[in-house]
Symmetry: C2
Subunit: 137 residues, 2 copies
Amino acid sequence: MSGTHTDVPSVVSAPLPSPVPAEEYEQCPVTDIVRRVGDKWSVLVIVLLGRRPHRFNELHRGIEGISQRMLTRTLRGLATDGLVRREVFPTVPPGVEYSLTPLGHSLLGPLSALADWVVAHRDDVAAARRAAAAADT
Amino acid sequence: MSGTHTDVPSVVSAPLPSPVPAEEYEQCPVTDIVRRVGDKWSVLVIVLLGRRPHRFNELHRGIEGISQRMLTRTLRGLATDGLVRREVFPTVPPGVEYSLTPLGHSLLGPLSALADWVVAHRDDVAAARRAAAAADT
DNA sequence: CAGCATCCACGTTGATACTG
DNA sequence: CAGTATCAACGTGGATGCTG
């Protein structure tokens, strides 16, 4: 892992001349995806499925705190985006298995980068929040 | 850039024994940060400030579509988390400059990873969405 | 087992108007 | 210039009960 990010490659820094071109950001795909994954449960589900396929109730019990409704919605959303595959086994009782598609699996890498950042800096963020709260008083 | 992510390092895959430990995910810091940055404007603001400091109205005009209210709230949130610094210059008329803190700047790296993923796979996601929409019909 | 349907509470976003 | 205040609208998330 590199220590610093003095220069940042990729689209984040690349296409941004100083005068700011504006409308470019309106339909910014990065924001789009970050929002998709930024809901309350998507990351959790992706990480879980990243380990191995899971059954519906397996996820339901595994996440603890999620409602059936939200789990269903989250899985549907991820499946719609091609990140998760849903397979129904016509057994009795019927079983449904969810797994990461190759596309979904490829998202684990970038997610790891973010996760590493969080782990490395969560104390800084927590300290900043405390400082801000104290400043309010 | 590496082609595949057959094994994914970092916390995303690391601390997840198969039986699923559950409560661990409730206060998952990754979800926490992803949500913070997952709102409608934060990423845009961070990317803009990543290029250079901006004045308030400069950002307001630059993003186009954001309301004063949302820009203020977004900036305040980011400042609270220590990602953005706010500096007031006691000139006439008063000027306020926003810039990324070192902490905020360090987030550009992970954000780049995500951005690269989005750029590389947005067609796949778009195709999956279209396929899902077609399947509904 | 794996959902869907309904109702409800809440937070977030936005339009608009006003201020130091 | 750089906000704050207020009100309205919407989306998200949760509880509960029912179904194939």
